[in-house]
Amino acid sequence: MVDWLTMTIQMVSLGVAVWCLVSFFQDRPMLVPHLIGMGVLWLLVLGQVGAAVATMVGGDRPDELPMLISYLATIALLPPACAVWGFMERSKWGPAVIAFACFVLPVLLVRIEQLWSPVV
């Protein structure tokens, strides 16, 4: 796990969430810039998942391994799944889906952080 990457993902994710909320209240559908934003976010997430997997293969494993793997799979799939689902909707509810996903993502990262290095 790369600490600064977790921070960056959380910041970018919240940024995209706020941006999509603004689009939602301006009654705009999801457009290509939103999609690019989600793409950047997804790449960052994939980087973090890759780093985590590399560390685990290297032998440094947390106690609750199955739980951690399922969380990692979730964050890897959440951005593209929600981006597609939101982009299919041609109304202001498309950005609403993305905003929701981008608020959930930082929470998931916090849980992953707790699983990775539990506070004893």
Binding site: P66, M67, S70, T74, L78, A81, C82, W85, G86, M88, E89, S91, W93, G94, A96, V97, F100, A101, V104
Partner: protein, 147 residues
């Protein structure tokens, strides 16, 4: 697939606010099922009732999400039933955990009316009910019953 028969209702139930509802339901389905299954498998003895309820809640969320997304007449009824059971579930379990906490040594998604999940489990079925009934009444107004 009954897609062609349900084109008008099909697009309304999963579009607009329904689009967001399906996304939220899907995420909660995953969260509750994964959490409950894992806890059942690893710590069954500690709180079987709580973990079983988590899995049940997850299954309900999943069926509701699919029902909303498929959006035909039948799946609308399925979603309606699921969402109703959920409302009852979150109210009952919420009240039980507040007044009879001894029965629940560990938390479920529905504990304390879903306070661990920002009360979304409490708001979700209410919004779901509102949306399904709204689409249902609009649908009845637009297309008078055939035969």
């Amino acid at each position: 697939m009954s897609e062609t028969a349900a084109t008008t209702t099909g697009t309304t139930l999963r579009s607009g606010p329904g689009r967001l509802l399906v996304a939220v339901y899907a995420v909660f389905a995953l969260a509750a099922t994964a959490r409950g299954t894992y806890q059942l498998l690893t710590r069954f003895d500690e709180a079987p009732l709580a973990y079983g309820l988590s899995v049940l809640a997850g299954a309900l969320y999943f069926v509701a999400a699919v029902g909303l997304a498929r959006a035909g007449r039948t799946s609308r009824m399925v979603a309606l039933v699921c969402v109703s059971v959920e409302t009852a579930g979150v109210l009952a379990v919420g009240a039980l955990t507040v007044f009879w906490s001894a029965g629940f040594p560990d938390d479920t998604v529905w504990s304390n009316f879903g306070s661990g999940y920002l009360f979304i489990p409490l708001a979700l079925p209410v919004l779901g009910l509102w949306w399904i009934l709204k689409v249902h009444s609009e649908d009845r107004r637009e297309t008078p019953p055939a035969s």
